[in-house]
Amino acid sequence: MAGLRLRGVHKFYGKVHAVRGIDLEIPDQGFTVLVGPSGCGKSTLLRMIAGLEVVDEGTVEVDGAVVNDMRPKDRDVAMVFQNYALYPHMSVFENIAFGLRMRKVPNAETRERVHRAAEMLGIPELLERMPRQLSGGQRQHVAMGRALVRDAKMYLFDEPLSNLDAQLRDEMRTEIKRLHQELRTTMIYVTHDQVEAMTLADRIVLLRDGVIEQEGDPLELYERPTNRFVAGFLGSPAMNFVPARIEAENGGLGVRLPDQTVLALPEGRRSAYADQVGKTILIGMRPEHMHRDREGEQRDGFGRISVTVEIVEPMGANTLINFHLGETSILARLDAYAAEQPGQKLDLLVDMNRAVLIDPESQRVI
């Protein structure tokens, strides 16, 4: 059980400023995901928490005590590495038991805990094997077992699923979430995959170029991104950004798109943009926030656009279509069978309560 706090943490690799003043509090017993594109400093941050990298500036605190100079072995963290990092000269049993042996846990207890961890991960039959005799997925299980057998303060995961194939990755993701719900310990998980981040996290910390872009619970980041990067990073397929202009119309406010359509802003949002009339902006629309309009009725909070379908990608559960608004190529996720063929003309309803408006200069959501 531990409260972890980072204050003004910096890391330099030669001239590269990899981590630039991170302030972060990791909630006890929570599942925190550090996510961001490669090179954003997320792994470096995790390694500094583990004690594998020197903190160049700032402090890492556990339970209020600064641990900057504490060796990894004294920090009581368990870590799962991307390439599993199993000990090739030891059996699976010894791999899992290693951390307990180093901490002088009695033999009988070690045996019992290793078997319990193996049961939990469904690998009791692998205990006598050597790592080289295992498949990638099995190695991953052993790496997880090696961490879970420990009674550590914190569990750190450095992209543990990125070397697995898609199906196994989905299974393991569920598995990890289940383990966290059972164990209720502090877990910090690094990934570049926003799906993993959204599905696993209690709390997402989204990083770019060594700074935190936004943190919060997954749906908060998804629904209320504070800038264009966050809006574009979370969600799959990604949010569409279209240049537009805020205009006054019929006593209300609207957003004029490149094809001259005006999407009315819902009443609740008007006051926020009253002083922005005439301003050029980017409107961000998620693919799943557009629907086919079959009835032609006016629905509150929705704006209508008429489009010509260019590409239809049926996914079974839903259908992706591609079209253009002015110069911008747009992707929309419609209901299954909502579109049939390229060239088809459709009316779409855009959920204006969930669209985001972005200042193109500051890239911030306004």
Binding site: G51, K73, M79, Y87, H89, F98, G99, R146
Partner: protein, 284 residues
């Protein structure tokens, strides 16, 4: 397997002839390489008359161990003992120091890009070039004809090789495995002992064997820097060549004795050596 695939390769005929030819070539090559060894061995067991007989005696009438007895009685086998002490001690020390230095180079990038190259470049100097400066230095230190002198020299000479080899083997160990050990509760030293050394075991054996063989066979320095007390076996062999007469039996017998330790070392460590030599080429 389909029928066609089974019948494509006839069991008799062409394949069998080819196998016979291969076998014959292999035997021929083996004879060419083993004959000198056989001749050395057999010469050590011949009587003087048989050694100088013409046509040569291919197989002595009796196994004559008299020459070996003479070597033991005269104390000439002492040279083997000297060689063993000098080669073993210098190998152990070079391995310990070299592995530590290699670890530092591999993991902490000590000295940046160039230190490692500089270290291996020390090995490019032909020994003969520095043998006289070293001789003068040794005279000054009083190390001529002493164990400590030759041992220090062989350590210095083998260190670059050990460092270079061990650096490669250590770099082949994924650093995450070590980091995993650190988070599992190892100190740096424990991670080395429990993870890095076992994983680099084949490399350690291979490097140690080659280091030992170098020290065992080294001739130029031993020739110049020893007199009578710590003669090593390659130097003593030359003492049997003379202007008037050459003691072929003694040369052969001492050579046999000098070959045996290396032979047994390599035979017992062969399992590690084969893997050791090919390891490092491909990342597992």
């Amino acid at each position: 397997m389909s029928d066609a695939a089974i019948h494509r390769k006839p069991l008799f005929g062409r394949t069998r002839r080819r196998m016979t030819a291969r076998f014959a070539v292999a035997v021929l090559i083996l004879i060419i390489f083993l004959f000198p060894v056989y001749w050395l061995f057999i010469t050590s067991l011949k009587s003087a008359a048989e050694i100088f007989a013409r046509p040569p005696v291919w197989y002595p009438a009796e196994f004559n161990l008299r020459t070996f007895a003479v070597l033991f009685k005269d104390g000439d086998v002492w040279a083997i003992y000297n060689s063993l002490i000098i080669a073993s001690v210098s190998t152990v020390v070079a391995m310990v120091l070299g592995t530590a230095a290699a670890y530092s180079l591999a993991r902490f990038k000590t000295g940046g890009q160039n230190l490692a190259i500089w270290i291996i470049s020390q090995r490019m100097i032909p020994p003969i070039v520095i043998v006289f400066p070293v001789f003068l230095m040794f005279v000054w230190f009083g190390w001529i004809d002493s164990y400590v002198g030759l041992i220090l020299l062989y350590i210095a000479f083998n260190l670059p090789y050990v460092i270079w080899m061990m650096r490669g083997y250590i770099e082949d160990i994924p650093i995450e495995v070590e980091e995993s050990a650190l988070t599992d509760g190892c100190s740096r030293w424990q991670a080395l002992r429990k993870i890095v050394f076992p994983m680099a075991r084949t490399g350690i054996f291979a490097t140690a064997v080659f280091t030992f063989i170098f020290a065992w066979n080294e001739f130029v320095f031993a020739m110049i820097l020893t007199r009578t007390e710590v003669l090593t076996f390659p130097v003593l062999v030359t003492h049997y060549y003379g202007a008037q007469s050459t003691f072929w039996a003694k040369i052969a017998a001492l050579s046999v004795l000098g070959t045996l330790p290396v032979f047994f070392a390599v035979a017992t460590l062969q399992r590690f050596l084969v893997r050791g030599i090919s390891m490092g080429a491909v990342k597992g």
